[in-house]
C-alpha cells in the first residue's frame, strides 16, 4: 500500500489495489483445493447460500454490524454445504442437482428476506445491497484488514496442514484407509473456502468470488504437476488478476469485479495455450512428433 502511494496513487486507489490483489491471491490458493477436489461449483453455491444468513443477521441486529453479518453468512453457507452433503448421501439426488437446488432455493429465500428488509425501510439497507453485489471500487479500510487477516490465516493453515490437504485432495479414500481423519481435514478445507467467500463477499460480490476460487487454480494446473508450485502460481495469478482489474478500472470507469474476472480469464487462456507440457500447443506438437515417428517408413527402418 505504501509502495502504491509512492507511485502517486491516492489513498483509496492504493487501498483497492492492495485489497483486490491480496483477495485474489488468497482465493487463488484456497481455490486450488476446490478445483482439485472436484468442488469448483460448490464455491458458487456457497456464495449464493450465504444470502439468507446475511439477511437474518441484518434483521436480528437491525443495523450493519460486520461481525454479525459475517457470522450469519458463514452459518448459512455451512448449512448449504450440509444440505448438499446430506442430499447426496441419503437421497437419490445427485451432487449437481443438489448444488443447483441449494443455490437457487437459498438465494430465493434470501431474496424474500431482502424484500422484508426493504419493506421495513431499515437504515443501512443500501450497504446490504453492496454486500451482495460487491463494490470492489469502494473497498474500505475494514475490508482490507479482513482480507489481510484472511490471507494470513489461509497461509498459516495451508502451510501447517499441507501434507494432510495434499493427501485428501488427491486420494481421499487412501487417506481414510491410512487412518487419517479424512472427514475432518475435508471439513477444514470447506471451512477455509467458506471463510474466504464470506470475507470476500462485501468487497467482491458473489460472482467474482466464485470466479476467483476457480479460475486461478484451474490456470495454475496447466503449468505444473506439483501441489506447492500450483498453490504459489495460483496465488500469483489471483494477485495479478486483482491488480490488473483494479488498476484498469482506476483509469477507465467500468465495474471492477468483471474486469478482474476477465483478467483472470486471460491468464487462464494464456496458460491453456502456452503452458509447457499440458498446454494445448505443446500437446499438439507432441502429437505431431509422435505421428511422424510412427509413420510407416520410420517404423519399418527402425529409425526414430
Amino acid at each position: 500500500m505504501i509502495i502504491g502511494m509512492m507511485f502517486g496513487l491516492e489513498y483509496n486507489e492504493a487501498l483497492v489495489l492492495y485489497g483486490a490483489s491480496l483477495l485474489g491471491a488468497a482465493a487463488g490458493v484456497i481455490g486450488c483445493f476446490a478445483v482439485l477436489r472436484g468442488r469448483a461449483l460448490t464455491g458458487d453455491a456457497l456464495a449464493h447460500a450465504a444470502l439468507p444468513g446475511l439477511c437474518v443477521a441484518f434483521l436480528w441486529y437491525g443495523a450493519l454490524s460486520m461481525p454479525a453479518l459475517l457470522a450469519g453468512a458463514a452459518v448459512s453457507g455451512v448449512l448449504g454445504i450440509g444440505v448438499i452433503t446430506a442430499l447426496r448421501r441419503w437421497t437419490r439426488i445427485k451432487e449437481d442437482a443438489a448444488i443447483a437446488i441449494v443455490l437457487s432455493v437459498f438465494t430465493g429465500a434470501g431474496v424474500v428476506l431482502l424484500s422484508v428488509i426493504q419493506n421495513q425501510r431499515a437504515s443501512g439497507q443500501a450497504g446490504l445491497q453492496g454486500f451482495i453485489f460487491g463494490s470492489t471500487a469502494s473497498m474500505n479500510f475494514q475490508d482490507v484488514m479482513l482480507i489481510t487477516g484472511l490471507a494470513l490465516v489461509a497461509l498459516m493453515v495451508v502451510t501447517a496442514a499441507f501434507k494432510e490437504f495434499k493427501l485428501v485432495s488427491f486420494d481421499a479414500a487412501f487417506a481414510r484407509a491410512q487412518g487419517w481423519p479424512a472427514f475432518a481435514i475435508d471439513f477444514t478445507l470447506m471451512l477455509l473456502i467458506v471463510v474466504a467467500i464470506v470475507i470476500g463477499l462485501p468487497a467482491a460480490g458473489v460472482l467474482l468470488m466464485a470466479a476467483l476460487l476457480v479460475v486461478p487454480g484451474a490456470a495454475a494446473r496447466f503449468w505444473t504437476d506439483r501441489l506447492h508450485v500450483m498453490l504459489i502460481l495460483a496465488g500469483l495469478f489471483g494477485a495479478a488478476a486483482g491488480l490488473t482489474g483494479a488498476g484498469v478500472t482506476i483509469t477507465i470507469a467500468i465495474p471492477t469485479g468483471p474486469v478482474i474476472i476477465l483478467a483472470a480469464a486471460t491468464i487462464f487462456v494464456i496458460s491453456m495455450l502456452f503452458a509447457p507440457r499440458r498446454g494445448l500447443i505443446a500437446r499438439q506438437r507432441e502429437d505431431r512428433q509422435l505421428r511422424q515417428r510412427l509413420t510407416l517408413p520410420n517404423v519399418v527402418t527402425g529409425e526414430s
Binding site: 461449483l41 442430499l87 449437481d96 424474500v112
Partner: protein, 433 residues
C-alpha cells in the same frame, strides 16, 4: 376483491405458471443427464449475447435478443465441453471458468457500450412479477373492460412453453434414450450431440424469454427444483414430466399467494423459489419410495426381523443342546440394544417365546418359526459345502447372513437339489417341519 385485483392475480399466476412449467419440463432432462448446473451456467453465459444483440439491433427485447441468447447459450456449453476435453480441465472447473468469464464480458460490454441501456441488475436477478399485469396490450376489441388487455409477458411465455412441449413430443424417444444412455443413443445411429445442442439452445431461449419476468434465480430454481422433486416421486419419465409441471404450477400459485396476500408484499420470484424448495424438502422426507422416512422405516423393520430371527435361532440351538431357559446374547451380531429389546418384546407378544427361570424358552409356535430359520441356515451350509467345496470353517458366516433371506420356496429347492439331506457339514441335524 375488485375486478382489477382479480385481473392482477389471475394474470400473474398464469404468466408465472407458463414460464415455470416450460423451465420445469426442460429441467427434467437436465437432472437426468446430471447437468443441473448447466442451467445456472447458461443463464449467466447468455448475457454477452443479449448485450451484443441490443448493441446490433438497437432495442431491448425482440427476436434478436433471443437469438443472441441462444447462440451464447450453445457457446457456453461448447466452450465448457471443449475446455474439459481439449484442455483436460475437470468438467465443473471448466463450467466455472466459462460462465463467470462470459458473464463478466457481458457486464463489461454493457458498461462500456450501453451505459444508458435499461438493464436493471435487480430485475435480472429477482425478476419483476409486479410489472407483469401493468404492461399490457389490447388483443381484442370485442371483449370488454380490462380483460381485453393481455400482459406483454404472456405471449413469449406461452411460446416457450409450446416450443418446449413440441420439442419433447417430437423427440420423445430420442430424448429418453439420450437421458438414460447417451452412449447407446450414439451407437444406435442418431446424433446425440446434435440433439444435445438443440436442447441446450432451447434451454437458453427459455431462460431468456422467462427471466425478464422471473429473474435468473427463479429460472434456475424452476429448471432444477420441481424436476428433482418429481424425480423423488416417480421412476417413470412421463410421470416425472407431469409431476414437474404440476409442482411448477403449484409453486407459482402458492408462491404468488404467499408473497402478495398472506406474507405482506414480499418478493414474488423469491417466494416461488422458496415454495418450490419447501415442496422438495417435503418430498425428500415423505416420498413414497425414495423418501428418507420410508427408507428409514424399511431398514428398521428389516433390522427388527433379523434380530427376531437371530433370537429364535439362538434359542433353538440352546434347546437342541438341552439348555432350556437360556439367556440369549446377540453381542456378535452388532445389533443396537434398542432393536434387540424391541425384537424380544415382539416375539413375546406373538407368543413365540416365554420367560423361564430368568432366561427364555420357545413356545410350540415359536419352535416352528425357529425351526425354519435353522433349517435355512443348515441347508445353506450344506449347499456351500457341497456345491462350492468351501472348507468347513468358512460355512457359518455366509449362512448366518443368508438365513434371513431364504424363504420356504428356496428351502424346498435347496432340499430337493441336495437330495433331502439330514445332517449339515458340521454333523448337526437339519430340522424339517
Amino acid at each position: 376483491m375488485t375486478e382489477a385485483d382479480a385481473y392482477r392475480i389471475v394474470w400473474t399466476i398464469v404468466v408465472g405458471s407458463l414460464g415455470a412449467t416450460a423451465c420445469a419440463l426442460l429441467g427434467c432432462f437436465l437432472i437426468l443427464k446430471r447437468l443441473s448446473m448447466l442451467g445456472d451456467a447458461i443463464s449467466h453465459g447468455v448475457l454477452p449475447g443479449i448485450a451484443l444483440a441490443v448493441l446490433v439491433s438497437g432495442q431491448v427485447g425482440g427476436v434478436a435478443m433471443i437469438i443472441g441468447a441462444m447462440l451464447f447459450g450453445v457457446l457456453t456449453v461448447v466452450l465448457t465441453e471443449w475446455l474439459s476435453t481439449a484442455g483436460n480441465v475437470s468438467e465443473d472447473a471448466s463450467l466455472g471458468v466459462v460462465f463467470t468469464s462470459l458473464f463478466a464480458a457481458g457486464v463489461v460490454i454493457i458498461a462500456v457500450f450501453l451505459p444508458r441501456a435499461h438493464i436493471d441488475t435487480d430485475c435480472v436477478l429477482y425478476g419483476n412479477f409486479t410489472n407483469v399485469p401493468l404492461d399490457t396490450f389490447t388483443w381484442s376489441d370485442s371483449a370488454t373492460g380490462i380483460w381485453s388487455e393481455i400482459p406483454r409477458a404472456a405471449p413469449p411465455m406461452l411460446a416457450s412453453l409450446a416450443l418446449t412441449v413440441g420439442f419433447i413430443a417430437l423427440f420423445w424417444k430420442e430424448l429418453k434414450l439420450a437421458a438414460f444412455d447417451a452412449a447407446l443413443a450414439s451407437a444406435m445411429g442418431f446424433s446425440a450431440a446434435l440433439l444435445h445442442y438443440l436442447f441446450v439452445a432451447l434451454v437458453a431461449a427459455c431462460s431468456v424469454t422467462t427471466f425478464e419476468a422471473m429473474g435468473s434465480i427463479l429460472v434456475l430454481a424452476m429448471l432444477v427444483v420441481p424436476p428433482a422433486t418429481a424425480h423423488l416421486l416417480t421412476d417413470r419419465l412421463w410421470a416425472m414430466l407431469v409431476w414437474a409441471a404440476g409442482l411448477a404450477v403449484s409453486s407459482a400459485t402458492f408462491g404468488y399467494a404467499l408473497a402478495s396476500q398472506w406474507v405482506f408484499n414480499t418478493n414474488v420470484a423469491g417466494m416461488i423459489a422458496t415454495v418450490a424448495g419447501t415442496q422438495f424438502a417435503l418430498a425428500v422426507v415423505l416420498a413414497p419410495r425414495h423418501g428418507i422416512l420410508v427408507r428409514f422405516l424399511r431398514q428398521w423393520r428389516l433390522a427388527l426381523r433379523i434380530a427376531g430371527e437371530e433370537i429364535l435361532g439362538s434359542l433353538y440351538r440352546h434347546e437342541e443342546a438341552g439348555r432350556v431357559g437360556a439367556a440369549v446374547s446377540l453381542h456378535e451380531h452388532r445389533l443396537s440394544p434398542w432393536i434387540v429389546a424391541l425384537a424380544f418384546a415382539r416375539l413375546r407378544r406373538r407368543g413365540w417365546i416365554e420367560r423361564l427361570n430368568g432366561g427364555w424358552r420357545l413356545t410350540a409356535a415359536g419352535k416352528h418359526e425357529a425351526l425354519s430359520v435353522v433349517r435355512s441356515h443348515r441347508l445353506w451350509e450344506t449347499f456351500l459345502g457341497k456345491e462350492f467345496e468351501l472348507p468347513i470353517d468358512h460355512l457359518h458366516a455366509p449362512a448366518a447372513r443368508m438365513e434371513h433371506f431364504i424363504g420356504p420356496q428356496m428351502q424346498e429347492e435347496l432340499a430337493a437339489q441336495l437330495q433331502e439331506p439330514h445332517l449339515d457339514p458340521h454333523g448337526k441335524q437339519i430340522p424339517s417341519p
